[in-house]
């Protein structure tokens, strides 16, 4: 999926943006295996694994929790996202525009763009920790929210600028590097885990489980400032860290190219390589750091990877961060450009990269990545429920599907209110109800589905 821009640069485009993907453009199963495996073996996996250890997770809870949570995520793609994607074969944005109207989609794009910027910022943060291995500046600690040294700010600035410029002018080069690096990266992630286990004294499968419980995932009290993680936390986090993509329906845009809806099982490649092996490996490295230097609680992927696998490990951190920050910044740029269509794609991407760089200077996003990822999914999830209900249930429940397209409205208040009320209710449940953010996504999705049915019936009756 590449196209030539007027000034000769290649850039990816979402082909068939406002039409069904034709039969000739459909892709085979292997395309999705590669895409999902690469996409979910990112630099941020090196943050998430250690944060589980910081949250005092036990061996059983992390291993079984990840198996169950990742399975639920795959099933969500297979049974919720893919059946709509392969029937409608439209992008999420076009499908939303038919349901919600152009102005509401613009607001959705703004929220999406802001979230993508923050996520890209976390990836820039990961890359800057690699610079800290070579240049001796003070790096942020586990509970730091603000930049804590001039060196850190300069490192993020340089890394972020490079990523932003490449995202604007050399997208295809990085996309090529991402494809090239994917198989090698998976093996380096496995190597991190093996080296870490050996250094912790675990050198045979026979004593693995007992030692893993004693040395790696010990359970007990979390580190200061961290929330205690149980089996349920791990399972729900693994299930919903890509909530925006599956039950939030963002991957309609990807899976609309699938010949069959079962091709969505390819997401298992991403889940079990990236969100199982990579998370466990990264958590082993952090457990090793806590074992050898208990006072050092900083989650810094650069030094962690370098200590385990040397320069190759460090290259992996940079490549993993860079190749995932690049499309994230690009997607954020696309989302913002939808709001101001006349602005130059390059300028928008550069400005987006600058915002991501600024976000990356604040370690709060990376150090609180578990919470941020949950929030990111939560913000985009209600629209997934709207799409699901509109596609499958609208006729049966007595209201018309794709109402904005039928009525010509630019803002479907039923969908808009569903989004706002769901978010408000979920955040209220977190703030006042004391429910942790990882657990509100599931009831929130059902709440959004019911709200959309009720509000659509009322709204469409009133509009006639």
């Amino acid at each position: 999926m590449a196209d030539q821009t007027p000034d000769g640069h290649q850039e990816p485009v979402n082909e068939y943006e406002r039409e069904r993907v034709p039969e000739r453009a459909l892709l085979g199963f292997k395309s999705f295996v590669g895409q999902y495996a690469g996409e979910h073996t990112a630099g941020t996996e090196l943050m998430i694994g250690p944060l589980f250890v910081a949250a005092g997770v036990s061996a059983f809870d992390i291993v079984v929790g990840l198996v169950v949570g990742n399975l639920l995520a795959v099933l969500s793609w297979v049974f919720l996202t893919a059946p709509i994607a392969t029937r409608a074969r439209l992008t999420l944005y076009y499908q939303l525009e038919k349901i919600c109207g152009r102005n509401l989609v613009t607001v959705y794009n703004l929220a999406n763009g802001v979230m993508f910027c923050c996520l890209a910022g976390a990836m820039v943060t990961v890359n800057a920790t690699a610079a800290g291995v070579w240049f001796d500046f003070r790096m942020p600690g586990l509970n730091d929210l603000y930049p804590n040294s001039v060196g850190w700010v300069i490192a993020v600035l340089i890394m972020g600028t490079m990523i932003a410029v490449v995202a604007a002018y050399g997208y295809n080069f990085v996309a090529r590097v991402a494809n090239l690096a994917a198989p090698w990266m998976v093996l380096v992630f496995i190597a991190y885990g093996l080296v870490g286990l050996r250094q912790l004294g675990i050198d045979s499968p026979s004593g693995f489980w007992a030692k893993a419980q004693d040395l790696v995932w010990k359970g007990g009290t979390p580190l200061p400032g961290q929330v205690k993680f149980t089996f349920w936390h791990v399972a729900f986090f693994a299930w919903f860290c890509n909530m925006a993509m599956h039950i939030g329906m963002a991957d309609l845009s990807v899976l609309r190219y699938a010949r069959k809806s079962w091709y969505a099982v390819a997401t298992a490649a991403g889940m079990y390589l990236g969100h199982f092996i990579a998370w466990l490996s990264a958590s082993v490295l952090y457990a090793l750091q806590l074992h050898t230097t208990p006072e050092n609680t900083a989650v810094l992927p650069g030094p962690l990877a370098y200590n385990a696998c040397g320069i190759a490990g460090l290259i992996c951190v940079i490549v993993a961060g860079w190749t995932t920050a690049n499309p994230t910044i690009y997607r954020a740029g696309l989302a913002f450009q939808a709001i101001a269509p006349r602005s130059s794609r390059y300028r928008v991407t550069l400005v987006t990269g600058a915002i991501a760089t600024l976000a990356g200077m604040f370690p709060a996003i990376a150090m609180k990545l578990l919470d941020f990822v949950a929030l990111y999914g939560l913000v985009l999830m209600p629209m997934g429920a709207v799409v699901f209900v509109d596609f499958w249930l609208s006729r049966k429940l007595g209201f018309r599907a794709s109402y904005a397209e039928l009525s010509g409205t630019s803002f479907n208040w039923a969908a808009g209110l569903t989004w706002i009320l769901t978010l408000f209710s979920c955040l209220l449940a977190v703030r006042l109800g004391g429910i942790q953010i990882f657990f509100v996504g599931l009831p929130g999705w059902f709440f959004a589905a019911v709200m959309y049915v009720i509000l659509s019936r009322l709204y469409q009756r009133r509009e006639g």
Partner: protein
């Protein structure tokens, strides 16, 4: 040339993970792990574009 590059790529992947496996088996030390992983990383990034890019263009 492409066939040779493919062979080097496969060897590079094997070479990237083997040092870590040998380290677990206490056959080599950590410094050797780091050195050999770097060597095979360089080999992967040199050899793989030769066949992967052409395959993509094809």
């Amino acid at each position: 040339m492409r066939t040779l590059a493919r062979i080097v790529s496969v060897l590079s992947l094997v070479g990237t993970i083997t040092p870590a496996v040998l380290f677990v088996a206490s056959r080599i030390d950590l410094a050797q792990v780091k050195l050999w992983m770097l060597v095979w990383t360089v080999a992967w990034f040199v050899a793989t574009p030769i066949w992967m890019d052409r395959q993509a263009k094809g």
